[in-house]
Subunit: 229 residues, 2 copies
């Protein structure tokens, strides 16, 4: 699964874009604040960055410059201007590609794929991206979750579920969103499948001494806790 981060202050566009990319089996996180976006890249859980050039506070070039000082993540720049100079500057600063708005969605997908074709081979070479919260470490590349050097034997769906929850730690995720992200379908009435997966993940975690990390928010959904209590 490909994790894409979008840094763009345009709420409407990012919303649309996220949906479209999700339909094309990419996992998407949207960040509307440039500074916050840099931090997200630092955490290192993304495979590709879509970066808007025109943003208040910090413009895209500055963001790119900062990101390139610590990361080689593939970057596609988005911009409203069609001017040569912008394109060239972006590319020279270390962007991999450039797409002028408004763009054809299919072209975006094609460009993402063209870039990932190259980078895929490279990824095993780059630092492995992993996420570590409350002593639970997950690694997408190998689909492994580890607690105190002990591997948790998760099924693919369970891993996916834990991964989505952890990536959104501290935020409630509705069952409907989880169902779409994890099982790839809308939640329908009387579908208890997701509940079962949550139950199973909890069971496996508790065998390793981890309890109450996935909280139920009755009527709303589930939540991976940020702070222990």
């Amino acid at each position: 699964m490909y994790n894409i981060l979008i840094i763009d202050d345009d709420l409407e566009l990012t919303q649309l874009l996220a949906e479209y990319l999700q339909q094309n089996t990419f996992a998407v996180v949207v960040e509307n604040k440039a500074l916050h976006g840099i931090e997200l890249v630092k955490q290192g859980n993304f495979d590709l960055l879509l970066l808007d050039v025109m943003m208040p506070e910090l413009d895209g070039f500055e963001v790119l410059k900062q990101i390139r000082s610590f990361s080689t993540i593939p970057v596609i720049m988005l911009t409203a201007k069609g001017e040569d100079y912008d394109r060239i500057l972006g590319l020279e600063l270390g962007a991999d590609d450039y797409l002028p708005k408004p763009f054809n969605h299919r072209e975006l997908i094609a460009r993402i794929k063209a870039l990932t074709r190259r980078v895929d081979d490279l990824s095993s070479f780059n630092q492995v991206q992993q996420l570590d919260l409350h002593g639970i470490k997950i690694e997408d590349a190998s689909q492994r979750a580890v607690v105190n050097d002990v591997e948790i034997d998760l099924t693919g769906t369970e891993f996916q579920l834990l991964s989505v929850l952890m990536r959104h730690a501290g935020h409630i995720l509705t069952k409907d969103k989880l169902s779409v992200d994890v099982l790839g379908r809308r939640l329908s009435a009387y579908d208890r499948s997701l509940d079962m997966h949550v139950s199973n993940v909890r069971k496996k975690l508790s065998q390793l001494g981890i309890e109450n990390i996935i909280k139920t928010v009755r009527g709303s959904g589930y939540l991976f806790k940020l702070d222990a209590e």
Copy 2:
């Protein structure tokens, strides 16, 4: 030194382009005939291809298709048309980038550099001739795999499979990717050939006392383990 091949029937443009690129320390070869160009790529002395879309006889898409059947050389398409559809088609056929004519020369350089940044990383990675993991040593040049000074008698395909898996140790490789990399074709429905090769490699390894090194990740692919357990 970077060797660039230009396939384009426009004599005037190619002349200019060649000079410009040479000034920027690239080595350039111009080929005005599409068919002849394919042969040049086959000989394999180029690092990057600039390919014109509009050509008599054979158009650029057809040329790209043929080249992609035997080579992963980075390709930037050049075309007079600015239409979305052309761009997308080119990218989906396996081009890495696309540049509409007339283009800014500095942008061309920037795009070439953006692409080579990625590919350079990759080639230095693939040039690793020897790999040694868990006591399994493989040597690409001689197509040999050795465990404790005992040679494993692998067929060409089996060696290739093991080599790809080991180069991506710790990362899940989808069956589709493995099929492309090892068997040279897309995985099609009910194709069990790859599974058989995995089975055979495992069998041969287990005869030498190595077990559970190639892990099945159900629904995702195979994985050469990084850490023993």
